[in-house]
């Protein structure tokens, strides 16, 4: 019997903190939340059993502040720390600090984290482990002369990528030789400003690529299992928008092979805990290792839906020293699952962030196979200091069409009013014939954005009629006069309007 933790500190905020808190409570572990000054009323604080303030809103003064988090861990006498994703989740200094201070870090050891954090180093490691990588350079480019020679060897089109990179930062697509030098200089300066490291390497550009990742779990006894894939090709500017499992693009053979390679990747770096191996898959279903995310992924719930395995629970179990209670043969995914990431962004205005107060919120609870992992509530003020992810709406179905229709149904019930959200954008994706057939790659959204948005006519009519009815109610009673300089109290006005509408 392993000794389970009594208390866990969750060094994060938003929906993922809520997600981890929920599992802690189910396991009888006391969750300890931390929060910044703008998060005093956040949902993760409301749901935690204990909570401690870290400091001002700015991440480096709160959720990125290693010293403060360790201080709270000592004060609250926790035995382990869960980092969620983002913030300190992939910071190996934090992992080392936890080890030094005697707290269990719920995640991988610092070494595999460091290897995977450096893209050129991890590529070298993978070559040694006989894992297929995207053709390109294994070392950062030395200078502009080196760049010219290596680019010639790899061939066009090619990608310039930051060694320390991720999320599309410091990345440039070079279609021909003429663009090479200027793109290189831009990528370098972007890499320097984003990661403090200007190192750039070259990768062959894969046409019509798919981004498909494999979830793995590894315990401390050498057991590693893959939990199937997640298709993440629905992206906008390198940000994932919607994920699904299984991938409609893969066949059984490729799927099995990718799972085996993912296990090999994890073994090669002595990985432990939950991790995700990302692959680029080309038109011919040839796949290449892209990177490994050494943390829990945002989109982990779709894997949970089809496998029935609570990934956060297993992260905690593994960290506490348990061995996996299931083997590869026991993993039999069932059905289909989708996730829509609902962001506080305005899809009608180039996805500009839209912080503010949620005046009205109705979540589509109820019905088989609908899960809403959110971090907000009605009356909550979405702060502008952090990632604008509000909620992840997840559905499961026996068949892919069932999961899609269930998602459309759940989306139609979801109401978030007061701020702009990406809610209406998903309907366009889900009803698109190419999506429905499962025939899409990473270019899907940029192509969709060029198409005319045909939807919304019905809603437009309903909106105009609603405004008409409101106006009508006012006029009918004859109590409404055009707005004068001295407007009556909004309360009185609304009250009267309500009475009228009731009488209509």
């Amino acid at each position: 019997m392993t000794k389970m933790f009594k208390k866990i500190l969750i060094a994060n905020r938003g929906e993922i903190a809520v997600r981890v808190i929920r599992t802690c409570r189910e396991m009888g572990i006391t969750p300890v939340a931390v929060y910044s000054e703008v998060d005093r009323k956040a949902l993760h604080v409301r749901l935690a059993e204990e909570a401690y303030i870290l400091g001002p809103a700015k991440p480096y003064q709160s959720y990125l502040n290693l010293d403060k988090i360790i201080e709270v861990a000592k004060r609250a006498k926790v035995s382990a720390i869960h980092p969620g994703y983002g913030f300190l989740a992939e910071n190996s200094d934090f992992v080392k600090r936890c080890e030094k201070e005697g707290f269990v870090f719920i995640g991988p050891p610092s070494e595999p984290m460091e290897i995977m954090g450096n893209k050129t180093y991890s590529r070298q490691k993978m070559v040694k482990a006989k894992v297929p990588i995207i053709p390109g350079t294994l070392e950062p480019l030395k200078d502009e002369k080196d760049l010219g020679q290596k680019a010639q060897k790899v061939g066009y089109p090619l990608l310039l990528k930051a060694s320390a990179g991720g999320g599309g930062k410091g990345m440039r697509l070079v279609k021909e030789k003429e663009e090479l030098l200027s793109s290189f200089r831009m990528a370098q300066s972007e890499a320097q400003s984003s990661f403090g490291d200007p190192s750039i390497y070259i990768e062959k550009y894969i046409e019509e690529p798919h981004h498909i990742e494999i979830q793995i779990l590894a315990d401390n006894f050498g057991n590693i299992v893959s939990l199937g894939e997640r298709e993440c090709s629905i992206q906008r500017r390198y940000q994932k928008v919607l994920e699904e499992t299984p991938s409609p693009f893969l066949d059984e053979g490729t799927r099995r092979e990718m799972g085996q390679i993912a296990v090999k990747v994890a073994a090669a770096v002595k990985y432990r805990n939950a991790g995700t191996v990302e692959f680029v898959v080309d038109r011919e279903k040839k796949f290449y290792f892209l990177e490994m995310n050494t943390r829990l992924q945002v989109e982990h719930p779709i894997t949970e839906m089809v496998t029935g395995i609570d990934l956060v629970k297993w992260q905690i179990e593994i960290a506490a020293g348990s061995s996996l209670s299931f083997s590869q043969e026991d993993i039999k995914p069932k059905g289909f699952s989708l996730e829509c990431r609902i962001y506080a962004e305005d899809p009608d205005n180039n996805f500009m962030p839209s912080p503010g107060r949620i005046v009205h919120l109705r979540s589509p609870g109820g019905g088989l196979g609908v899960r809403d992992d959110n971090g907000v509530y009605e009356g909550y003020e979405v702060p502008l200091e952090y990632d604008p992810l509000l909620s992840k709406l997840i559905t499961w179905g026996m068949t892919r069409p069932e999961a899609i229709h269930r998602m459309l149904r759940a989306l139609s019930e979801y109401q978030i009013y007061g701020i702009k959200t990406t809610l209406p954008f998903f309907k366009r994706i889900l009803v698109h014939p190419r999506f429905f057939k499962g025939n899409y790659n990473t270019h899907f959204i940029s192509e969709l954005e060029k198409e005319e948005d045909g939807g919304g006519d019905e809603e437009k009519v309903a909106a105009l009629i609603a405004a008409g009815i409101r106006d009508y109610a006012e006029s009918k009673a004859g109590t409404f006069s055009p707005p004068s300089k001295q407007r009556e109290s909004n309360w009185k006005f609304q009250g009267r309007l309500r009475n009228l509408a009731n009488r209509l």
Binding site: S193, R237, Q239, A344, E345, D348, N350, F351, M352, P353, P355, H360, L384, E385, Y386, D387, P388, L411, S412, Y414, Q415, Y417, K420, T421, L423, P424, K427, G456, E459, K460, V461, A462, A463, L464, I465, A466, A467, G468, I469, R470, D471, Y472, S475, K476, P483, R487, F493, Q494, L497, R498, A501, N502, R503, L504
Partner: protein, 169 residues
């Protein structure tokens, strides 16, 4: 309750005018004419700003806010700003379109990149600079065609909410 109450209203939505005719045939049975189409509508009030509309048998759960210039309406996840402006007011705003406009930041963030220079010509909808806020990079576009008169911040600088990003004339 008197029936046979009639009303004509004009609304503006996305610079387009819509004329509505409402006529109450029986209590809570309103015939709405919008353009060439007729709809039979009944309505229930759910709360101060929530309406349950039944339009030809189809149900719409609507959130509606009234303000001095019109209504903010939220239907099936979509948001509409409906205005009660008169035609002359609309023309008035069109005239002012060629005047100088200051574009200010609606949130604090960091300027990642400046794409145009002072004195450059700019088209409506063309990106002028890239602002990073809420961990995302956002292109800030010009709301009108013209010439960039001034660019407030430099690349790499932080801006506060309400500070000038650029002026276009």
């Amino acid at each position: 309750m008197p029936t046979g109450f009639k009303m004509n209203i004009s609304f503006w939505l996305d610079k387009e005018e819509f004329r509505l005719n409402l006529e109450e045939e029986r209590e809570n049975n309103i015939q709405v004419t919008l353009g060439s189409k007729k709809y039979l509508v009944s309505v229930e009030s759910l709360s101060t700003n929530e309406l349950l509309l039944n339009i030809d048998g189809k149900i719409y759960d609507i959130i509606i806010d009234c303000n001095s210039s019109g209504f903010s309406v939220y239907v099936n996840g979509r948001f509409f700003k409906i205005e009660k402006k008169s035609a002359s007011q609309i023309l008035g705003t069109q005239k002012t379109k060629h005047k100088k406009r200051d574009i200010k930041s609606s949130m604090p963030g960091r300027i990642v990149e400046i794409l145009l220079q002072e004195g450059d010509e700019v088209k409506e909808g063309q990106a002028v600079l890239v602002l990073q806020a809420m961990k995302m990079e956002n292109e800030i576009k010009s709301p009108q065609s013209g010439v960039i008169k001034k660019i407030g911040p430099k690349a790499g600088e932080h801006v506060e909410s309400g500070s000038l990003l650029f002026s276009v004339e």
